[in-house]
Symmetry: C2
Subunit: 278 residues, 2 copies
């Protein structure tokens, strides 16, 4: 459990610029062009035609680098910027009244975030806080240009709805998992979901030889995602390692007995496949 006590003061709106974010640095040139983007098929802009990508590029601000464990924005902060995660791994979380932290979403490359806001108009605030689980690269889009971008490219709306449905699906899966009762199930389910999501990535941290992925979560992160203490998470992980099911150490996760593990977590790969509008 992590308690964030010092909530930073919101930036005065007029004076806000990206470069005021102390821990966010502009990526050095040359930055990745949208039309050369290696992960575009996984992003909001999948369906944009080659031609349109040229001017679409204008909507993007720049690519930024966010260091490991650094916070990108805080819940409630005025939402000036929307993001596509280009490379790395982020979390969206909320801090509860009792000080506990709840991780709501894990963001992997291609994920679009920051548009779920509270309130209407230019003063609307982010719904979650976001933090890097490893050094990450972000493509930033100023909110001010977003609406006109959506209007000029109507298919973006459909794609957004589709991506929203996918996130909704993941969220519902977690709700279902929450209805089960054992810590073993919760942990197995979460690890499997993340494992399969990473493996689906175009440039994934997946290693087929050891059936393992890059896995930067601490036991506390795992606990805050499923509602357990880091202590108990640790005990169960050890138990699972002793049983030869997995190996979860040094920022790497190997699944040694995938079949048995999926049985425990009641997980099926189809659960996290992209959903489509009818």
């Amino acid at each position: 459990m992590i308690c964030l006590t010092a909530i930073p003061v919101a930036h005065p709106r007029s004076a806000f610029h990206m470069n005021e974010k102390p821990n966010l640095q502009r990526c050095p040139d040359p930055q990745t062009k949208c039309k050369e983007c290696p992960i575009r098929t996984m992003t909001l802009f999948r369906d944009v035609s080659e031609n349109d990508l040229v001017w679409m590029q204008e909507f993007r601000d720049t690519q930024y680098l966010l260091p490991d464990r650094e916070i990108l924005f805080q819940e409630g902060e005025t939402a000036h910027t929307l993001y596509t995660l280009f490379d790395g791994w982020l979390i969206l979380f909320k801090t509860l009244d009792n000080g506990k932290r709840r991780i709501m979403r894990f963001l992997l490359p291609g994920d679009f975030f920051g548009f779920q806001v509270d309130g209407i108009g230019p003063a609307s605030g982010y719904m979650h806080s976001s933090q890097a689980l490893m050094e990450s690269t972000l493509c930033a889009f100023p909110v001010t240009r977003f609406r006109s971008m959506m209007q000029k490219q109507p298919q973006l709306t459909a794609r957004l709805a589709e991506m929203e449905m996918h996130d909704m699906n993941l969220c519902q899966n977690h709700l279902i998992d929450a209805a089960r009762n054992s810590a073993r199930q919760h942990i197995a389910f979460l690890l499997l979901e993340l494992f399969h999501r990473v493996r689906r990535q175009i440039r994934s941290g997946y290693d087929g030889k050891t059936n393992s992925i890059v896995f930067p979560l601490t036991r506390e992160d795992i606990g805050d995602a499923i509602g357990l203490t880091s202590h108990h998470v640790n005990r169960i992980l050890q138990e699972m390692e002793r049983e030869g099911l997995i190996l979860c150490q040094k920022k790497r996760l190997s699944i040694l007995n995938e079949k048995a593990f999926m049985e425990i977590g009641q997980f099926e790969p189809g659960m996290i496949l992209p959903k489509h509008l009818i």
Copy 2:
């Protein structure tokens, strides 16, 4: 906890028609016209112009009446029809491997559902089962006409994304609530969410005199929505009644001490307000 053992055989696709649903009866004429619909501002079709409503009406199948506690469709069943709830109260739920039931969404008038499907194309199946908590009226839209309807009315896509965001928000709130620890909190939160949602309805079952709403959930329903046994739900409800917080009996819910109750449930009305695309 409810165990559904007898999963009905799926209808052969070609032979399926609405009227094969044994418990679904066509509403007697005259049926409500879209352009005279009293709840249209709460539906997917809020932004459709008066002119367009005439031909929009053509897309709709008919209005159907679903009796109390009757099942509308089962998870996995081929999704031929999308619905707007016109009047009544439904639940969307999933039946877990261990036999338990998890209620995923409570549907109130205006809610659009049935479009979250598994798979692609005409063979895709519903993601949840749906059941009436009271006699309900439904507006049915054949899937086959839906895509062309969306194309002719692009603003429907934006509205759909917006409604999806709202549902996502509710779903996330439940996830947050699941991270809290006491049954008191879970129950208070759920009751308050439903109470406020009903009160926001145009034709609500709200009675200002007793600060009460129509509330058809059994203790089992409540338990299946938040992951408790009906026994324990009952104990907590009694406790709350003894403390003069609420009254939850005979299909009615009164909130007697709203301030204290909101404190317990860590609920704020803003949590369930509609969200907007930036």
